[in-house]
Amino acid sequence: MIGRARFAFTVLAFGYAFLYLPIALVITYSFNESRLVTVWAGLSTKWWIALFHNEAMLDAAWLSVRIGLASATLSTVLGLAAGYALARVPRFVGRTLFASLVVAPMVMPEVVMGISMLLLFVGSDQLLGGPARGFLTITIGHVTFSLAFVAIVVQARLADFDRTLEEAAMDLGATPWTTFLTVTLPLLTPALVSGWLLAFTLSLDDLILTQFVAGAQSQTLPMRVYSSVRLGVDPQINVLATIVVAIAASALIASAVLTRRSVDKRAAQ
């Protein structure tokens, strides 16, 4: 049994090295003096300064953040409705179709979703004269696939949910709407927050669907990164990667601390 501990340690060390070494190298080379990413020529922050003066990149980042905020919010609203319907309404016309439509975007190849949504927008452009491709069409695209993730989180939360609380509120004379707002919604908040964050991250990261529906005028951050990376390795992209990793890591640490605190509070009570 001595062998087992050593085996576990080796496996995990190798696995985490595989997961983190490439990222660590990208971060290291963001401080490299040389333009060549394969040659180390001393410490420098010049690529950091260059990135913060790169207007095209900053504009793209700003567009991505705006689309992320809009699409995450809209998909949280629609995902809440979809998850609630799936968890609480056992029978309605087209329920089977609805259930598969909700989860299908999660497993649909993105190239297929991309081409199909573009055809829809081209068609509506011909018939209705709009919407113009850009912010609106990208947001609609992102909502369509991230809605599923919110719906699943909400549905799972509602499935292991103490329904007696809602029944008690109704017995005490609350209308269904009041019960939903004062009992159900507060209990769903953690699920909605994590669903929103997931939708925001997915939107910020999406390249393929966005590339199809963006039109000629708009360029999001991943589109910008992709067109620069296609031409080869670029130190400014390393800087951007470092920033993304820093944000993701601090968000994760913050959520771990918050969870720990709420667990401690519950234990104290």
Binding site: L19, P109, V111, M117, V229
Partner: protein, 278 residues
């Protein structure tokens, strides 16, 4: 209450189902570069015929299947021992170990693929290391080959493999393993006859969660595979953006969907069954 159902239902019908119907309709159209959009609708089977007779497209289908299968197997080989080690770690350590597996998933997919470009290039960090250490004097270039695509897929989708494996291994009743060894089974036969069959649901779920997205993958073969690596997602992209052949790109999309229906149905049945069991 009706609105709660109708709103997301209508959204998905208009923005998900209707577009798929349009793709199906367009796949029977004819490519007409002079029109805008460049399609003449009709009932033309030429695009499908081309997909199944032209050697280039056949090769793309086969290599997509092969790359997805090999990469899935690679992810299983790396992911299974990891999930096993995490499931048998001290309970206080498990959340941290799992979080470390998921964390890269929250950073950008594109950037994680990009990270391998600098590693695998001709004068990349990996080759520099191999030359410096004297392990290999003349390492070839991995970037631009199928190997780079395998590495990229395993790297990008490893969390999807580890999570379902972990959740089935974590539920495993380890006293069964002790019983097997008490009855004289050596560790390897005990693993093969007890642990492996009991973790089969996790293996199936993990493999499908890697295989399904890997088949239609575009970014990884495009950035790491070079021009020689054919994958069907890349073919669709090129037919659409480079050749502006909308009917052919639509036909590729329809075939890709038909190919994936099987794995997706198995996956959903499987999820349903494991939901009912808990």
């Amino acid at each position: 209450m009706r609105l709660v159902i109708a709103l997301p239902f209508a959204w998905l019908v208009v923005f998900f189902l209707l577009p798929l119907v349009l793709v199906l309709g367009l796949s029977f159209g004819t490519n007409s570069p002079d029109l805008a959009p460049p399609v003449e609708l009709g009932l033309n089977l030429a695009s499908f015929r081309l997909l199944f007779t032209d050697d280039l497209y056949l090769a793309a289908w086969l290599s997509s299947l092969r790359i997805a299968a090999v990469s899935t197997f690679g992810a299983l080989l790396l992911g299974y021992p990891m999930a096993y080690a995490i499931a048998r770690a001290r309970p206080q350590l498990r959340p941290l170990l799992l979080t470390l597996v998921i964390l890269p998933f929250w950073t950008s997919f594109l950037i994680r693929v990009y990270a391998w470009m600098g590693l695998l290039a001709e004068n990349g960090i990996l080759n520099q290391f191999l030359r410096w250490s004297g392990l290999v004097r003349n390492p070839g270039t991995i970037l631009g080959t199928e190997w780079a695509v395998h590495l990229g897929i395993v790297y990008a989708y490893l969390p999807f493999m580890v999570l379902p494996l972990y959740s089935s291994l974590e539920k495993l009743d380890w006293s069964l393993l002790e019983a097997a060894s008490d009855l004289g089974a050596k560790p390897l036969p005990a693993f093969l006859t007890v642990t492996l069959p009991l973790s089969l649901p996790g293996i199936v779920a993990g493999c499908l969660m890697v295989f399904i997205p890997a088949i239609g993958e575009f970014v990884i073969p495009d950035l790491l595979g070079g021009t020689r690596t054919l994958m069907i997602g890349k073919v669709l992209w090129d037919e659409f953006f480079t050749n502006s052949d909308w009917p052919l790109a639509s036909a590729v999309a329809i075939c890709l969907l038909i190919l994936l229906v099987g794995p997706i149905v198995i996956f959903q049945r499987h999820q349903q069954r494991s939901l009912e069991r808990t």
